[in-house]
């Protein structure tokens, strides 16, 4: 309430930062924590400042109820209904703010469970992208140029990166191992330089940003894990293809994530002497 009072009148939702209490459980939870630290601690404050539509996280959102009613709340057919709502808030002239308060969740610590959760998120991003690009001009008019680009980059780009990443890595591996020049006709020199720049600058920049992400919370032990992000991207790609398959075959199916499997306890449950919620 205090943050709402300090925010501009058009602030309709406040998103808390999210992090994980079981970051140190295994490699997957460490990478998931890095992923969240990059998104909630580094990117969201920037997006908020640029007034780019913020795809809301599913936890710890605080809404003005009248705005929520006016926008007919969440889309029940979208499996990332929170992300979709964030876009619609911006389209209707509302602002999503970020509160400097952290909710610690349980990071999915099993790969199968993680892929199921992430494939739902990927499918939801695909749905959100398809829904809002039915009328690109309307999207541009309602979100502005920065918002429009931000939407394409963060919603469309997330899905596209997941889908295309393995294709490019496979092409690169074939070129490197077989030392073939069979790809040369497909890569004229300007495109080759651009691809090389993307390979080096893109990967280097992402790894560096991941290294910076945990500093805010003092999770310095996670920094070296940034070097293993390529393996994490591989899992994201698996989830993206799974999400695409489900979008075609079973678009509204809600893939359940199993919670309460972590061996670690949240601080709250530890204090209450209970198992994690």
């Amino acid at each position: 309430v205090a943050t709402f009072n300090r925010s501009s009148a058009n602030t309709a939702c406040l998103q808390c930062r999210l992090s994980y209490f079981n970051a140190d459980e295994n490699w997957l939870t460490r990478m998931f924590t890095l992923d969240y630290a990059l998104w909630f601690d580094q990117m969201l404050p920037g997006l908020e400042r640029l007034n780019v539509p913020i795809p809301l996280g599913g936890t710890s959102n605080h809404f003005k109820i009248e705005v929520l009613r006016k926008l007919y709340a969440w889309d029940p057919f979208n499996v990332t209904e929170d992300a979709d709502l964030g876009i619609r808030l911006t389209q209707n002239g509302y602002r999503v703010g970020v509160v400097d308060s952290t909710t610690f969740e349980e990071a999915t610590c099993q790969s199968g469970n993680w892929i199921r959760q992430r494939s739902r998120w990927m499918k939801g991003y695909m749905q959100t992208f398809l829904v809002h690009t039915r009328s690109p001009l309307h999207l541009l008019q309602t979100t502005g140029m920065l918002g429009f680009l931000g939407f394409f980059f963060f919603i469309g780009g997330t899905v596209a990166a997941g889908l295309f990443n393995p294709v490019f890595w496979i092409l690169y591996a074939i070129w490197l191992v077989a030392t073939t020049n069979g790809f040369d006709p497909a890569f004229p020199q300007p495109l080759l330089f651009l691809s090389l720049f993307n390979l080096l600058a893109g990967n280097g920049a992402f790894i560096f940003l991941l290294m910076l992400a945990p500093i805010r919370r003092g999770f310095l032990g996670l920094i070296p894990y940034s070097f293993t992000v390529v393996a994490y991207w591989f899992l994201i790609s698996v989830a993206a293809y799974r999400g695409l398959w489900q979008l075609l075959r079973n678009p509204f199916y809600w893939e359940k994530t199993q919670h309460g499997v972590s061996k670690h306890q949240s601080q709250a449950s530890f204090l209450l002497g209970r198992a994690p919620l």
């Binding site: 080096l200 560096f208 290294m211 910076l212 992400a213 920094i223 070296p224």
Partner: protein, 279 residues
């Protein structure tokens, strides 16, 4: 005079002093070898006469790329390295002016101070020597500020600033590369103690990652494109040797005749004397 006008005044006056001095010196037949070879390479790269392998392996990278880009957009015959060095010193002078003003110094005093520093013979010598030395000086100045901020507040933006200025330093001049390497073990002293207590090594990884990654990236590119082999890795070492030799010619053989030994003696004296000085 407003601060904006003062900024424009110090930047343009510094720029034109460097241009005039460069013209005067080159008219007298004195030309910096580094600036001439940089210009020749930039012209060759701009005209497409240089193999891609040599372009991506060219070192010092930042001055070379900046000169080549300026060469592409300038009319033929423009002395691009001189323009670039003069512009850089002008820009640094403008930054100094705004910095001194933020510290609360009066405008006339600030202008005088900035002109005294920017037009100091050592700065002018660096500017006339070419863009590489000016980039080196600029990044060294930025690094000092970034290190100071890192000690005050070791958050992600401060870590990023130090990491990127180290990268700029290493890729602007062979001595910058030497400075960056030498500074690495000492970086831990610039981070806040609470972070050092958690994991000093991991913070240093984040600080040096961009530099190490770019060394790897440029080495990889010079391997991919034929014509340069692994020359990117050799270039900084050769550059340091050439630079030391030319400095010896200019300044004499130093204390011992060996630059690394001189550096060691100076470092020891600084460490020994500093506590007494600040007492």
């Amino acid at each position: 005079m407003t601060q904006k006008a003062a900024t424009a005044f110090v930047a343009t006056s510094t720029f034109f002093v460097v241009l005039s001095l460069s013209w005067f010196i080159s008219d007298a037949g004195l030309l910096s070898d580094d600036a001439v070879s940089l210009w020749a390479n930039a012209i060759a790269a701009g005209d497409g006469d240089m193999p891609v392998g040599r372009v991506v392996a060219a070192y010092p990278t930042i001055p070379f790329l900046a000169t080549a880009l300026l060469e592409l957009v300038s009319p033929t015959g423009t002395p691009t390295p001189v323009l670039l060095a003069a512009g850089l010193l002008g820009a640094v002078a403008a930054i100094w002016l705004n910095l001194f003003r933020r510290l609360g110094l009066a405008l006339p005093l600030t202008i005088m101070l900035v002109l005294l520093i920017a037009l100091h013979p050592a700065m002018l010598r660096a500017a006339i020597a070419g863009p590489a030395e000016m980039f080196f000086a600029a990044f060294l100045f930025l690094l000092v500020g970034a290190l100071y901020d890192l000690r005050a507040r070791s958050a992600a933006p401060e870590v990023m600033a130090v990491a990127l200025t180290l990268l700029g330093l290493a890729f602007s001049h062979p001595m910058g590369a030497a400075f960056a390497c030498a500074a690495t073990p000492l970086l831990v002293f610039t981070v806040r103690p609470e972070l050092v207590a958690k994991s000093a090594f991991n913070v240093v990884i984040a600080l040096v990652f961009p530099t190490v990654f770019c060394v790897f990236a440029f080495s990889y590119m010079s391997w991919v494109f034929p014509g340069s082999g692994w020359s990117f890795l050799v270039a900084p070492a050769e550059g340091i040797a050439n630079w030391s030799a030319s400095m010896s010619r200019t300044l004499g053989s130093g204390l011992t005749g060996l630059s690394p030994l001189d550096a060691g003696v100076v470092t020891f004296l600084a460490i020994f004397c500093a506590p007494h000085y600040f007492q």
